[in-house]
């Protein structure tokens, strides 16, 4: 005993480190398995499908072809074999980007004051306000979208009220326009903007706001110079949470755009459905992914730089 005891401590650090390393890998394994099965695996399948030839009745033929990647941006005329830009696709890309940006902006404009309002209520009433924000979010997406439809269709509530009040003579066509898609998406994704901003705002030390007022900053200056920089992480998170799902939105543009205001999600669905061009669908999906990533990189860069300038 007396001989082994002193040697034990000197041997154990190495052994412990090794077993620790092994344990770490063991503990990481479930996460790795789920990640590879649920994210990397499907993505790989999509990538493979995008470089195959479309089958006649959907599905794919196992023949390598980059045609679908070209088809994302260019069109080959059926008769003359002339190459032109795929206007229809680019139009959809453009609309998706535009509507997603506008939605994020609109959500910010509506969500920021809302979060501020809730965060400045007495503590015991904040939860109630947040519940009111969250209840619609827990409701089925389709139902909410149809509710918006009911509001803005030609014989809907808004038009009826406007006509009855004499402000307009005949109903305004709002449904099946980009406007209706924008309104619908803003409504649907608003909680995703409010939540993270509220979380930052709740942690905000309101003494700082008072200090701002005390040092001659008016309401707008306090908002811009004190509140906004401090809740910026929430604004960034909220914008990403709204912008990203908007780019891939499917239900809302389908119902409120009436098949006329296609967005990327609808275009991709078309390829897998009616048009039976799975490889093009796969290529479009990956393009969407790339657009999201590029947009996020630019956004985060811009925010970061602004941060440095502020500092």
């Amino acid at each position: 005993m007396s001989e082994t005891a002193p040697s034990a401590p000197s041997a154990s650090p190495g052994r412990r480190a090794r077993s620790e390393r092994r344990n770490r890998w063991l503990l990481l394994t479930p996460a790795m398995v789920i990640l590879s099965l649920a994210a990397s695996g499907p993505l790989l399948v999509v990538l493979i499908y995008s470089v195959l030839t479309p089958g006649d009745y959907g599905g794919v033929e196992w023949r390598f072809s980059l045609d679908s990647w070209f088809a994302v941006v260019v069109e080959r005329d059926f008769f003359t074999e002339e190459l032109t830009l795929a206007d229809a696709h680019l139009m959809v890309f453009w609309r998706s980007l535009k509507l997603s940006l506008c939605t994020a902006l609109l959500c910010l404009i509506v969500g920021f004051p809302t979060a501020y309002f809730i965060a400045t209520r007495p503590a015991r009433r904040r939860d109630m306000w947040m519940l009111l924000i969250m209840i619609p979010f827990w409701t089925n997406l389709l139902i909410r979208t149809f509710a918006i439809m009911e509001l803005i269709r030609n014989q809907g509530t808004v038009n009826t009220l406007l006509v009855a009040s004499g402000l307009i003579d005949e109903p305004i066509q709002m449904l099946y326009t980009e406007f209706s898609v924008l309104v619908g998406m803003t409504y649907v994704y608003l909680p995703l903007m409010i939540l993270p901003i509220y979380a930052s705002m709740e942690r905000l030390n309101f003494d700082l706001v008072e200090a701002g007022y005390d040092l001659y900053a008016n309401r707008f200056q306090v908002l811009r110079r004190v509140i906004f920089p401090l809740v910026k992480p929430g604004v960034v998170a909220g914008s990403i949470l709204v912008f990203v799902p908007c780019l891939g939105a499917y239900v809302t543009p389908r119902v409120l755009g009436g098949g006329k205001q296609l967005m990327l999600g609808n275009l991709i669905e078309l390829q897998f459905g009616q048009l039976r061009n799975w490889p093009l669908g796969a290529a479009l999906s990956l393009t969407l992914l790339a657009v999201v990533m590029v947009a996020l990189i630019f956004y985060v860069r811009a925010i970061g730089q602004e941060g440095e300038r502020d500092v």
């Binding site: 003494d207 008072e210 040092l215 001659y216 920089p229």
Partner: protein
């Protein structure tokens, strides 16, 4: 000059209504170091926040150099605050914090740079100008908060217990520094504290508050030597209370007879109502204003119950013959020998005119 009159602030309504300020009237002079002193919850912060503009009073008026303040939002009042929590902007550096007020006032760039440099110098923070405020110590944050509030040269600086978070030594240092800054800048300081020693050492004048009202206003000496009522006498320093009867009055002086039968001249409070002969009153006597002596012929007599040595001074607790107790304080001298022992029968003498007749 800040003139506050009839200021009342009631929080809540109906059953749960709470009056935090009750008809407060006070005039704070220009260039004065004015302290609001009182126990926790007495309304000091409420009064300060009303002056700053963060709270609207229920009633009353508030003017600064004759100009009505209540109609102005906080950002238009030439008044700055040093917050108890400092409230430094965490997303700005030390220098940017100090520049903030000047920028909001649209001062010229060159002027801002110069003033910030001057302020940094004043609070000895030049070396740390480019640090984030989260990367400096509590005492340094306190100095930055001070510099930030002083930079726009307000007419009045409000300080809400700015030293309470600091340790003893730093606190003493900052007390001197605050006093120096007030002297150098000539700005009116309204200083809140619940530390009576801090109030006595720093202030030109003190307002002692209790339960939403101002109980007494005066210089540190006034307040200490001539407390007007039991609350003030009790809250500031240690006090002995003695029951007595008025024999005769003559202006601010009165002759009173103590329960022991001894007679002595006493002071009446400045604004006290006229006292009738024969009225029962309470006298306040500070522990260092009495002397131990032989019991024969002394004003008061009793048994020495405890002698407690405190380093700089010694406290003597005397059980008076009339069922009252009296505490005495004597400064210790080198080479002094202990004359009185616990259990001795001792006498107490108080110089004429020293006892203070309380209003209640």
């Amino acid at each position: 000059m800040i003139e506050i009159s009839g200021l009342t602030k009631t929080f809540g309504e109906g059953q749960s209504a709470f009056t935090a300020l009750d008809d407060v009237s006070v005039t704070i002079r220009s260039n004065e170091f004015f302290t609001l002193l009182g126990p926790s919850g007495c309304g000091k912060t409420t009064l300060l926040r009303t002056i700053a503009g963060f709270l609207d009073p229920t009633r009353g008026s508030l003017t600064l150099d004759g100009e009505d303040l209540l109609s102005k939002p906080p950002y238009q009042r030439p008044v700055n605050t040093v917050f108890q929590s400092y409230a430094l902007f965490p997303h700005m550096t030390v220098a940017e914090n100090i520049a903030f007020g000047l920028q909001m006032l649209n001062r010229r760039k060159a002027e801002i740079t110069a003033t910030v440099a001057e302020m940094l110098e004043l609070v000895q923070m030049t070396a740390l100008a480019d640090r984030k405020t989260s990367q400096i110590s509590g005492g340094q944050q306190q100095r930055v908060a001070l510099a930030r509030a002083l930079a726009p040269r307000p007419k009045v600086l409000l300080l809400d217990e700015p030293l309470s978070a600091l340790d003893f030594k730093l606190r003493k240092e900052m007390q001197l520094e605050l006093k120096r800054l007030q002297h150098e800048t000539g700005i009116t300081f309204v200083f809140v504290t619940h530390d009576q020693e801090e109030a006595l050492t720093m202030s030109d004048r003190i307002a002692v508050m209790n339960a939403g009202t101002i109980r007494q206003i005066g210089g540190p000496r006034d307040i200490y030597d001539h407390p007007a009522e039991r609350f003030v006498a009790d809250f500031i320093g240690d006090t002995n209370f003695l029951q007595a009867k008025i024999l005769s009055t003559d202006g601010a002086q009165a002759r009173v007879r103590l329960v022991s039968g001894g007679e002595i001249a006493a002071q009446t409070a400045a604004d006290a109502p006229v006292l009738d002969d024969g009225a029962s009153v309470t006298l306040a006597v500070r522990p260092e204003h009495a002397e131990l002596c032989a019991p024969e012929g002394a004003l008061l007599s009793g048994r020495l119950r405890d002698v407690v040595y405190f380093g700089t001074d010694t406290h003597y607790h005397v059980a008076l013959d009339q069922n009252e107790t009296f505490t005495l304080r004597r400064q210790n001298q080198p080479g002094q020998t202990q004359v009185w022992q616990t259990g001795d029968h001792v006498g107490l003498n108080i110089a004429p005119g020293i006892p203070q007749i309380l209003k209640d």
